[in-house]
Every structure is written in C-alpha cells, then in structure tokens.
C-alpha cells in the first residue's frame, strides 16, 4: 500500500440549497492512476476544483501531502498540475506564448521547457499559431502541455482525451502510462470513455449524484467483472440449493431478478445442467456473462449511466 497523498474528509459543496457533492471521503495513494467515474453532473469536476482550490468547500476538508490549511494546500498544489474542463487558453496568443506565460507564472527557470512539452504533445509544428484557431483535440494537447510544464508529482485531469482522434488517444494514454511508470506521477483522471480508463487506471472511484458509490481497485474490479454463469430457472432458490449441495464452496451472487450468478463453474456447465435437471428444476436461461468496466458502471448507476459514452469514437462529435 502506497503513501496516502490526498485525503478528503466528509467533503461537501452546496450551491444554495442544492448539494453538488456530499460526504465525499476518499484517499489517493502515491503512484495510483485513479479514475473518477460518474455521469454528467455527478460532482467529478467539483471535486477536482476543490482539490485545485478553485472552489471552496462548504463542508469537510481536503488534505494534500498532509497539509489542510489554506496556506499548506497552496504549497502542496505547487507539486501538482491540473487540467480541469476545457483547457483554459488565451485564444489570441500562440501555443508557445500560452506556455511561456504559464512558465513565467510557475517560475520555471528553463525557457527550453516550453519547446520540450510542445514536442512531447506533438504541437511543435503549430507552436506559433494562434491557439484560438486550434481544434478541440489540439487545445486538449495544449492543456496537457501546460500540465506537464512544471514536472508535477500529481496530475489531475478532467476529460483529457475529450476531442482527440483515436491516434491521439493512444498517444496520450501511452504518455500518461509512461509518466506514471517512469516518473512515478500519480494521476487522477476522469473520462466518459470508460474503455480508455480501463486501460489506464489502477483504481476507480464511482460517483453519482454528488456521493461516492464505490472506491475499488482495478484488481477488485477485475474480480467483480470476472466471467460468470447466469442461471435463471423456474425455481431459482431450489436451483441454488441443488448447486450448493453438488459443488462445495460455491461462489455465487443473486441478481435483482432472482437469477443466479455463479462463479468458477464455467468448465462444468454440463454438470450444472445435469444436476438441475435431476433435481427437477427447469432452466429458463443458462449463459456465460463477461462484464467490463462499462457494464459494471452501467449496472451500478442504472439509468444514470445513460450519458456515459462506451467507446472512443462516441466523443468525436463533441
């Protein structure tokens, strides 16, 4: 278990009578790539803005690198970088000038760092062009370049691959993985493209309607998503009793509709159906199910998950 570097306690943000987030508790450990997953309006950006000091919480507190005072948090943020919502850029200034302004603001002594990050995100050939004329994907790259400027220890990224073409998505994914593995940068990332997150994240926080529904590691998620046998019969309770009697230490789950989710018997399907038949139970449904992050998320959030895109191309028209 890594060192806890970010911790929230009972965090809440209220606008008038409405809560944007409530009772949010989570911990981020060093080296994590933590995916913040939730539908639009779930509170992901609010959490990121509070971490960045843009929003002031109405309840609870945040601790970053063990500091939770206003001054201490500001000090800790010097070790972080943020890309929240659409990158904030000066549209009349070139990509180079935007980065140069941020370099001066962050007090980075080496002016060559600007060229380095432009190259890193593939904008070296358009660095002199006005950023206002950039496509959304190029603006995203510029936002990532600004984030990388100060060589942060923690990167907080809100929808960083939004608007990128498939090639760009792969590049950014590889870049983030490289930064995490080689530079040991901790990353907190939100995205609607869950298939992408599943290729990146070591941990997930599921959030909906301003509250955290589940914090889970990638390993735990994998276990939860592992292949299972879905069995629905004319008498599911009896079917369960038969299978428990037949197979020792049966690992199972009961779905909302009463059907059974059985783990670890995929190699014994013949035995399963035979036992059920001999026990006098008529199988109505017998199938293999393999869940992924998207399905897991959809199952967890129900109708609220409808806004989540399920593949990279879904965001291309944004």
């Amino acid at each position: 278990m890594g060192k806890v570097i970010i911790e929230t306690n009972n965090l809440g943000k209220q606008y008038g009578k409405q809560f944007a987030i409530k009772n949010v508790d989570f911990k981020i450990e060093e080296g994590m790539i933590c995916g913040l997953i939730g539908p639009n309006g779930a509170g992901k950006t609010t959490i990121m803005k509070i971490l960045g000091g843009l929003n002031i919480p109405t309840e609870g507190n945040v601790s970053i690198y063990g500091k939770n005072t206003e001054k201490g948090l500001a000090e800790s943020r010097k070790r972080m970088s943020f890309m929240i919502e659409t990158p904030y850029i000066k549209s009349r200034m070139s990509a180079y000038e935007n980065l140069e302004k941020q370099r001066l603001q962050k007090g980075i002594p080496n002016p060559e760092r600007v060229e380095e990050v432009l190259k890193l995100v593939g904008l070296e050939n358009v660095g002199k062009k006005a950023a206002g004329n950039f496509s959304l994907g190029m603006k995203q790259r510029l936002g990532i370049a600004i984030s990388l400027l100060s060589k942060p220890e923690i990167m907080v990224m809100d929808e960083p691959i939004n608007g990128l073409d498939p090639e760009g998505i792969v590049e950014i994914r590889n870049l983030l993985l490289k930064l995490n593995k080689e530079e040991h940068i901790t990353i907190i990332i939100s995205s609607h493209i869950l298939s992408e997150l599943s290729l990146l994240c070591t941990d997930y926080i599921f959030i909906n309607k301003g509250t955290i529904r589940q914090s889970i590691t990638a390993q735990e998620l994998e276990n939860n998503c592992k292949e299972s046998l879905i069995i629905h019969t004319d008498n599911d309770e009896k079917a369960l009793a038969i299978l428990q009697e037949k197979f020792e230490n049966l690992e199972f789950d009961v779905n909302d509709n009463g059907s059974l989710k059985i783990f670890g018997l995929l190699d014994n399907i013949r035995e399963v159906s035979k036992s059920l038949y001999e026990g006098g139970v008529i199988p109505l449904e017998l199938r293999i199910q393999e869940a992924n992050l998207e399905e897991y998320y959809m199952n967890m959030s129900g109708d609220d998950g409808a806004t989540v895109k399920t593949d990279a191309t879904a965001d291309d028209n944004k």
Binding site: K49, L54, I56, K78, Y88, M93, K101, Q102, L104, S150
Partner: protein
C-alpha cells in the same frame, strides 16, 4: 507574486488593447495640432499646449482606466486562465494583488506618458512661455493622477464583480460618465461644487479654466491664465482618492477571495 506579475506583464505586452490605448492616447495628444494648425505650432509653447490640452487630458485617465484596468483585471477571469495561478499554488491574494499592481502601474504610467510626453516635447522645442505658471499646471496634473488612482480602483472593483473585461469597462465608463451629470448641473445652475465627492468630481473641476486676463509684455498682448488651486483643495484631492481607492481595492479583494472561480 512576482512570477504572476511577470506572466501577466508578458501577456499585457502582447495584448492589442494595450497598443490601442497607447495609440489612442497619443492621438488625442495631437488634437491641439488641429486647433493651431502646423504653422501655429511654431508659436505654441509648453504652457499653452498644457492649457489647450487640459480639458482633453483630464479625461484620459478614466478612458484609459476603463480600457487598461478592466483588461488587466478581467481578461484572465473571462477566459479562466487566472485559474492556472490558483491551481499552481499561488494564493488568491497574490493573484489579486499582482493584477492590482499591474493595473495601477500600467494605467498611471500610460496616463503620465500620454500627458507628459507631448507637453515635454513642445516645451523642449518652444519653451514653457508666460501664459500659465508651471507650478499651477503641475498641481492640476497631480490631482489628475490621484483621481486616476481612484477611477482605476473603481474599475477594478466593478470588473471584479462582473468578472468580464468588456462588461467591467463599459459599466465603469457608464457609471463614471453618469456621475458627472449632477456635478455639472449643480455647478452650472447653483454654483455648488462637490469637491472630492465622486471619482469624476476633481477631474471635472480641474478641467475648468477659472480666471484669465490679458497683459502686454514686450509690446505684445498675451493671455495669462490663473490656474492656481488652493492647498486645502490639493490636500483633499490627494488624500480622499487614496482613501477611497484603498476601500475599493479591499472590497474587490474580499469579493475575489470569497467567491468560487468558475
């Protein structure tokens, strides 16, 4: 804070608004040429130039403040790039104070440049002359600068409330303009002058030419203007704007510190 000042200054120097303000200000400074004609300029001394320029010059600070001040304070809030400073670990106080300092330096600097440069050039070429006492005119220009402080602080407050440069500039311009109307009415109809009352008051009264007389010097008739202002007025015109400016800036700071950044 010094890093923010460097970064915002870098941006101001690349902002077309800055050059519009400088160009516009210098263009206004050339207005007396229209009045005197190129030939007449040979006889125009520094004192007469300052006199001719006075009514125009007195109003440069508030146009300049509305333009430059609102841009320096509001542009980064309008496009949210100010957020990067907070996200990078600068305190809100630093982000605010850096902009306030720059707004004052650029605004007052440009006001001085636009007013002093043309007068200085004319004085160097044709001398100051005997039409007006240098000390009297200098006092009026000092009052103008202190009023510019107050106007700039007002623009900072308004822009901080609306968080948009154009809206901040236009609203400030409108309010400052409107505030002159009752002053003019009272002054013209009842001869009541509410010195130091609002930001535009002293600027307005300083632009009035009160007494002038004609004298004969070396056989030549010249017009002499009495532009002296009382010491008590001068002290009030320096202290009141500074106090009010501090109040405006503190209010603007409180607003910036307590509100979420979008």
């Amino acid at each position: 804070m010094i890093n923010i000042i460097k970064a915002v200054n870098y941006q101001i120097k690349r902002d077309i608004t800055t050059y519009i303000a400088i160009g516009g200000g210098l263009l206004i400074a050339l207005l007396p040429i229209l009045e005197y004609g190129v030939d007449g300029l040979k006889e125009l001394n520094g004192g007469m130039y300052a006199m001719s320029y006075l009514s125009v010059m007195m109003f440069i600070p508030y146009v300049m403040s509305c333009l430059i001040g609102a841009c320096i304070i509001g542009k980064d809030m309008g496009d949210k790039t100010i957020n990067y400073e907070i996200l990078a670990g600068h305190s809100r106080m630093d982000a605010f104070l850096a902009r306030v300092i720059l707004a004052f330096v650029w605004d007052i600097g440009l006001c001085i440049l636009v007013s002093a440069l043309p007068i200085g050039v004319v004085t160097l070429v044709n001398g100051w002359g005997n039409n007006v006492a240098f000390a009297d005119m200098a006092a009026r220009y000092i009052v103008n600068i202190t009023s510019a402080f107050r106007i700039n602080a007002f623009v900072i407050l308004i822009t901080m409330i609306v968080r948009h440069p154009a809206a901040g500039g236009f609203i400030s311009y409108g309010v400052l303009n409107a505030s002159m109307l009752p002053l003019l009415v009272l002054s013209e109809t009842m001869d009541i002058k509410l010195y130091h009352s609002v930001a535009m008051a002293d600027i307005l009264y300083m632009s009035f030419i009160s007494n002038m007389r004609q004298i004969v010097e070396n056989g030549e008739k010249i017009t002499v203007y009495d532009m002296a202002i009382s010491n008590s007025f001068l002290i009030g015109a320096i202290i009141v704007p500074i106090v009010v400016s501090v109040v405006y800036v503190v209010l603007a700071c409180m607003i910036f510190k307590k509100r979420d950044l979008k």
